[in-house]
């Protein structure tokens, strides 16, 4: 096993890529060794995903050469990549919701009997084995739509492992996972390496890279700027290499909320989803909503927006009792939502930056009669946003599908705040976003709160919950487990309530 360890499995030589004349990757030369876990870090639009898409055959490099086992190869399609033993687990899920787990795993490469009929039993059996290897408890016959985000992630990894793979690329694999699931994933990744696989691990979470990866490279503006064994660099140094400058403190100082209550939820119950949710939000407050995946955090937001029907309870907005039947009513009442599912319900990828930015607030650019859009004032406003948010885009008319994830998220945030809401609900506001953009988003939310907006802050990242929130509502299985304040807002306390471990010990 040790033999092959330092031999180079994959070599990229002077890889360049540009989109419409804009260079995204510049002269990337990189050796990847057999049996290593290589961490790739970098800011939004630094070129990480582009590089991986080239490796997995989705994009073609503008110039440069790739060598696999010292032989030059041309990876002209994802199918070819798979044949060469390169598998990509994408950041965004690529599963068919109306098919069961096993059918998704074998999609396009179904096992068939001699007669040509699908051998479902064999596929289910193989799926069961794969799932057991990942130590996840999912029924191979379960339908994707019934699975949680974390489970879908596991299925994606299964899909990549279902076939012979020498090189496994994981693009931001932990954004949807809980701490517990991340542990499982890490053990799995290490086990795969020890079995001889090479893993390329792309992440924004530097601590993860630090604890998992053997070697780390940093991309900045499409250039490979740093390369070192992970042992020899600190997390802080990684961050500084990524950003290219000294970092200030990550979280802005917390401000004190006012006494005035702007929003209350009272005994809100959605059968099977939420039970007796009661909390209040003060003016200028950031109220965290923490909990494990599936605890019902997003469901709280969806219920406020009127997307889920409640059987009991109500909301009080600025002293008035209200119930919403659809998001339009909530927006009219001054509530805005930043979705956790960017591509599914946040932005329209086939719309331009301009049209996405003003999708919610378009009425404010329209004449009262016939709702004719004042395109000039619309462009002017969005241009200001693009500058103040440092959104990297060719023009206002660039389609969102051509922007990096972080820039898409910024546009999504612009869309949510252009209505000038009194209450802003952010759901995983920094998912799939790099350190510098995170930083910007934190400061931006803080500025909004200082200006009198109240914020419901939903996140799976405890660090940001702890760093940002005045108070924290911890949820477990659709209920409120605790509301924490002051010094009680710490990792240990939140996890105790989120998992319910203390109660179990007591009983």
């Amino acid at each position: 096993m040790i033999d092959g360890k330092n031999e180079i499995i994959l070599r990229m030589e002077k890889i360049n890529k540009d989109f419409g004349g804009v260079p995204v990757l510049k002269d990337i030369t990189l050796d990847i060794k057999r049996q290593e876990i290589l961490g790739i870090i970098g800011e939004n639009g630094a070129g990480k995903s582009t590089l991986m898409k080239i490796l997995s055959g989705i994009y073609q490099p503008s110039s440069g050469q790739i060598f696999l086992n010292e032989k030059p190869v041309k990876i002209e399609s994802p199918v070819r990549a798979r044949q060469l033993g390169i598998s990509l687990v994408p950041q965004e899920f690529n599963l068919i919701r109306d098919l069961p787990v096993y059918a998704n795993i074998f999609l396009g490469v179904e096992i068939r009997k001699k007669s040509g009929i699908l051998d479902k039993a064999a596929m289910k059996e193989r799926t069961r084995e794969l799932l057991a290897k990942l130590s996840v408890d999912i029924d191979p016959e379960a339908y994707i739509e019934k699975l949680s985000a974390a489970e879908k992630q596991m299925i994606e990894i299964c899909k990549a492992l279902a076939f012979h793979a020498d090189i496994l690329i994981l693009d931001e694999p932990t954004t949807m996972l809980t701490t517990f699931e991340i542990d499982i994933l890490f053990k799995l990744v290490e086990a795969l390496r020890d079995q001889g696989m090479t893993i390329i691990y792309i992440s924004h979470k530097l601590k993860e890279v630090k604890s998992l990866c053997d070697r780390t490279i940093v991309l900045r503006d499409g250039v490979l700027v740093f390369e070192a064994p992970t042992q020899s660099v600190s997390v802080l140094e990684m961050a500084q290499r990524m950003v290219g400058r000294e970092l200030e403190s990550v979280f802005p100082p917390k401000t004190m909320p006012l006494k005035e209550v702007v929003f209350e939820a009272k005994n809100v119950t959605v059968p099977g989803v939420l039970e007796n949710i009661t909390f209040s939000l003060h003016k200028g407050e950031i109220l965290g909503l923490a909990g494990l995946v599936g605890a019902g955090r997003t469901e709280v937001a969806e219920t406020i927006l009127g997307l889920r029907k409640m059987t009991k309870g109500h909301f009080i907005v600025n002293g008035t009792e209200m119930k919403f039947n659809e998001p339009a009513e909530a927006v009219a009442a001054g509530i805005s939502y930043l979705s956790e599912d960017r591509q599914g319900s946040g932005i329209i990828t086939s719309f331009s930056v301009l049209k996405n930015a003003t999708l919610v607030s378009i009425s404010s650019y329209c004449s009262p009669f016939l709702r004719v859009i004042d395109k000039e004032s619309e462009r002017k406003k969005v241009k200001e946003y693009v500058q103040s948010f440092r959104i990297k885009t060719e023009s206002l008319d660039t389609l969102l599908e051509n922007l990096s994830g972080g820039n898409q998220q910024k546009v999504s945030l612009v869309k949510s705040i252009d209505t000038k809401p009194g209450i802003l609900i952010v759901d995983e506001p920094t998912r799939g976003v790099d350190v510098a953009a995170k930083h910007e988003i934190y400061h931006f939310i803080n500025e909004l709160v200082k200006s009198g907006i109240s914020c419901l802050f939903i996140s799976s990242e405890l660090e940001e919950i702890i760093g940002m929130c005045n108070r924290v509502v911890v949820m477990r299985e659709g209920r409120i487990a605790a509301i924490l304040e002051g010094s009680a807002i710490n990792e240990e306390e939140i996890m105790i309530h989120a998992t319910g471990v203390r109660e179990e010990v007591a009983s």
């Binding site: 998001p327 339009a328 004719v372």
Partner: protein, 332 residues
């Protein structure tokens, strides 16, 4: 891809159908020499294109919103039947003022078209039934209601002036032996295209139509009242059906229930697709649809001049629709 290459690709997508129209026009001129290029023939082609063209404008809205409407032809027959009956009733009532009767009849047709569209829209949004099924059902309902009412015969208008209105021209003047003229339906097609194009590109409703057609979930989360937008798209196409029905009924001064508007849904959908609007919804162009209907009509005119049977023309039309979608696929 370089900047220049990208721009030219975009332009091809935008102006591809216009280019096809120009090529076809030149081709028709050469093949159909000297008959095609005669001003009377062109005028005729334009007029024939306008009846289905007006409906196709509405169809653009529906398809951009992610829907489809198969009921337009049958609905046209139904509203035209009712409108002619109403007009005749107004005429017979105490002698009746003919102008008022015609106005009443036309208004009834446009109004009923709007109601028919609203019915489709309600079934789709409130009833949560897919547009294909709803409009397949109402297609049958409208057609057979008309046939039942007329006992599969026709409703003749009792107004000569209505027929004259159908043949009317906005202006016409002579150049040598040719007469250049603009007939009423063509003018209405152009006005409607200008209005709908403005709505699509410059109003909130237009923006919402595209948003709903692109990704209705994002639209819903973005405070767009998705059902309302879809509902109004069907009302718009209903109104267009009403306008077209009035013009066509006036053209013949009678409504023959088995034939009136027959196959209009096919022509309207084809014009929208040929005009470059995405069948999956989300984006499209009203003027593209005008180009699309002209392409269809010129092909029909060429086949006519070549002496092909109307049945064979239907075969060619089908091939053109499939080919145009195929070409669009290749471009992507």
């Amino acid at each position: 891809m370089s900047q220049a290459a990208r721009t030219s690709k975009l332009n091809l997508e935008k102006y591809g159908s216009l280019l096809a129209l120009v090529v076809l026009f030149v081709l028709a001129t050469i093949i159909g020499w000297p008959y095609f290029i005669q001003i009377e023939n062109i005028t005729n082609v334009m007029r024939q294109a306008s009846y289905t063209g007006i409906i196709a404008l509405g169809m653009s809205f529906v398809i951009i919103s992610g829907g489809i409407d198969l009921s337009v032809g049958a609905m046209a027959a139904f509203v035209a039947s009712c409108g002619v009956l109403f007009m005749n009733y107004l005429l017979s009532k105490n002698g009746g003022n003919e102008t008022m009767a015609i106005a009443g009849g036309v208004f009834a047709m446009v109004f009923l078209g709007g109601v028919g569209g609203a019915l489709n829209g309600l079934l789709i949004t409130k009833g949560k039934i897919v547009p294909f099924i709803v409009t397949l059902g109402t297609m049958s309902i409208f057609r057979y209601l008309s046939l039942q009412m007329a006992n599969a015969g026709e409703f003749a208008s009792h107004s000569q002036a209505f027929g004259a209105f159908g043949m009317s021209k906005i202006f016409s003047f002579k150049i040598g032996s040719s007469v250049i003229s603009l007939s009423t339906p063509v003018l209405i097609l152009l006005i409607m295209a200008a209005i709908l194009s403005f709505i699509l590109n410059n109003t909130r409703f237009g923006r919402y139509l595209c948003a709903v057609g692109s990704n209705s979930r994002v639209a819903q989360y973005s405070a767009v009242r998705v059902d309302r937008v879809r509902f109004w798209a069907y009302v718009v196409i209903g109104l267009m059906v009403g306008i077209s029905a009035a013009l066509l009924a006036a053209r013949f001064n009678t409504v023959s229930t088995p034939n009136f508007g027959l196959g209009f849904e096919l022509d309207a959908i084809a014009a929208v697709i040929i005009g470059g609007t995405a069948m999956s919804g989300g984006r499209g162009s009203v003027w593209g649809t005008v180009v699309g209907i002209l392409i269809l009509q010129i092909i029909q005119n060429m086949l006519n001049m070549a002496g092909l049977s109307p049945y064979f023309q239907g075969v060619v039309k089908g091939i053109v629709i499939i080919a145009s979608v195929y070409i669009q696929r290749q471009k992507q």
